[in-house]
Amino acid sequence: MVSPVGAFAAPVITDAAGLGVLVAALGVDGRRVIGPVCRDGAVVYEPVTKLSDLPLGVIDEQDAGVYRLKKTGDSRYFAHAVGPQSWKRYLFPPRQSLWSARRRGKGFEIVKDTPAPAPEYVFLGVRACELAAINIHDRVFDNGDFADPGYLARRGRALIVAVNCTRAGGSCFCASMNCGPRAEQGYDLALTEIVGDGGLRILIETGSERGAAIMAGFEAPLADKSDLAAARDAVRIAEEGMGRKMSQGARKALGKSLDDPRWDEIAMRCLSCANCTLVCPTCFCTSTKDLTSLDGKTAERQRVWDSCFTLDFSYIHGGSIRRGTAARYRQWITHKLVHWHEQFGMSGCTGCGRCITWCPVGIDITQEARVITESFVKGG
């Protein structure tokens, strides 16, 4: 699926009109293009059919517990950072039917409809941190013992058009997680917006054969050295503009600080609302729901997103394991930054910053990790 960058077609340079042609070309052959659009005061991932659907000149002000869109004269279509949604909404939908059952005599029979073929999505505007998150889910949903066929089918068909960030969001810290801001691999096409005297130019890099097939019909001049340098500079601005970073050594420190008093201090602020887990592009926990018809003849089992912040999540007879908010926050952050490594050989955090922005009380994962890491270093 993924080959070294540059092995397919040489990068080309285009402009806004060219981007419009590309958006149209992405949507042929039954492909469903999903990209950033403004809705309800946020940039969300919704169907995109034409260039004007994209949030031209829209900037998001983000900080801990803060998110505001601002319309500017910026000529970029991807000047915003990541919004509340992530691509997991499409690859790993919030609600999936597992099967249904019909009562038959004393027993019942399970009915599993042959699933409709997975839609062929084109994800337009996948940021480096989001590519990293998708890469993480590829590992989670094929865990060596079991695989999730639905996820793998949707994932296998999805085409990824990455966008290299040229502006850092207020909560971003991907650079310190080694996940961005430049998409290094795993994309079919990658776009970099370059703002210069001549207006907006867009560098298009090809990362796969499928990307090359789309670019085959696309007429644009090859990018020259100065274009590549300008694109690199644009991404560097995002990298240098990141105000937050994850502490080095957080993994070790958190793993050895399970009894740290800081957990109780965080619990005094944390509402245990589960926002962080729902906006997180890598959180994968689910619950099952059993729906029964009123006449009791049919039943359906659904898989729905769940969160480790609920009391029910850890319930076994006699009570929940994680009764306190401190234990639930500790579970979430240590899973992301510590135990994920042991489970999947990688961090569960990509530095996208969503959990910081969408926390109603502004709890900042980088700050909490820093406090605990520093106290561990001092104490140890």
């Binding site: 099967w99 059952a101 029979e109 099952t288 029964t292 898989r303 769940d306 480790c308 135990h339």
Partner: protein, 281 residues
């Protein structure tokens, strides 16, 4: 990529018929299940569990408590403690439930050949250990001493009482039962199970211990075993957590870095020692 055929879907329950249902204790019952289609039996290893589905109500993880050497006789012992298990308590011969499995890690019954074996368990914790006990007894010559230490709240709460009494009458194993409280007609031990460990006689350098019970009981059992000279690598415990999928996807059973459903439920104690004593983990 095309979706895998539904047959291989580990999330899909298979219908099993109740061949026999019987009461074990006031709140505990057993179900003997046979596959509704194709009676080829059900292969599993001692210590593994299944996800049992009650039509229209829900699904619960239940350890298999029968004899793994008799794959045609699939037995689960269940305590009615919630919506699903309460509904299952009303199941009768001929009723049908759904089953997914088997899942999870087994007791290391083969690896402990040649060793003394101490089995420490309380309450319904005996159910997941019974397949291991059957295996030990069926292969008695392969093991050294076999010691079963069992605890229950009262004499009326002793699970598999007739079997325990039968095993207690054998000359090749030793069985000690302790209850938390009892009347004058109780001639056995009174007190918590870990207290029985210091009195048990085994070769600490060549003993494997299998424990299943409430975490606090397992905690003190491990302490007593360590005091008796058994190292963590020779101690195996069966953990319990909330489970929705049993395939490592739902995340509910996470226990530090482990998924209890697939890395457990049976853990070698040295692998979990660091987190075992952490509260609410």
């Amino acid at each position: 990529m095309s979706p895998l055929p539904a047959l291989n879907d580990p999330m899909l329950p298979r219908p099993f018929r109740i061949e026999r249902a019987w009461r074990e204790l006031s709140d505990t019952f057993s179900l003997y299940l046979v596959p509704q289609k194709g009676a080829k039996g059900f292969a599993y290893r001692p210590g593994q569990f299944n996800m049992l589905y009650q039509f229209g109500v829900g699904e619960v993880p239940i350890s298999i408590s029968g004899d793994a050497a008799e794959p045609l006789k699939l037995v689960h012992t269940i305590r009615a403690v919630g919506t699903v298990t309460d509904a299952m308590a009303g199941l009768k011969r001929g009723d049908v439930i759904g089953l997914r499995g088997p899942f999870g890690t087994p007791w290391p019954v083969e690896k402990m050949a040649g060793q003394d074996v101490v089995i420490i368990t309380g309450g319904i914790g005996l159910a997941p250990l019974r397949p291991a006990i059957y295996h030990l007894l069926a292969n008695r010559e392969k093991y050294g001493k076999i010691i079963i230490l069992y605890g229950a709240r009262t004499p009326n709460d002793i699970l598999y009482r007739r079997e325990l009494e039968k095993w207690r009458g054998r000359f090749d194993i030793s069985v000690e039962v302790s209850v938390d409280r009892a009347g004058h007609d109780w001639a056995g031990n009174v007190g918590v199970v870990p207290n029985l460990i210091s009195r048990a006689v085994f070769d600490p350098l060549h003993t494997t211990a299998l424990i299943c019970g409430p975490e606090i009981m397992m905690h003190y059992s491990v302490k007593a075993l360590n005091t008796a000279g058994i190292r963590d690598k020779r101690i195996f415990v069966s953990m319990e957590r909330n489970m929705k999928c049993a395939t490592g996807f739902c995340g509910h059973c996470q226990y530090g870095p482990h998924f209890v459903c697939k890395d457990g439920p049976v853990f070698r104690f040295d692998k979990i020692r660091k987190i075992f004593s952490v509260r609410e983990i």
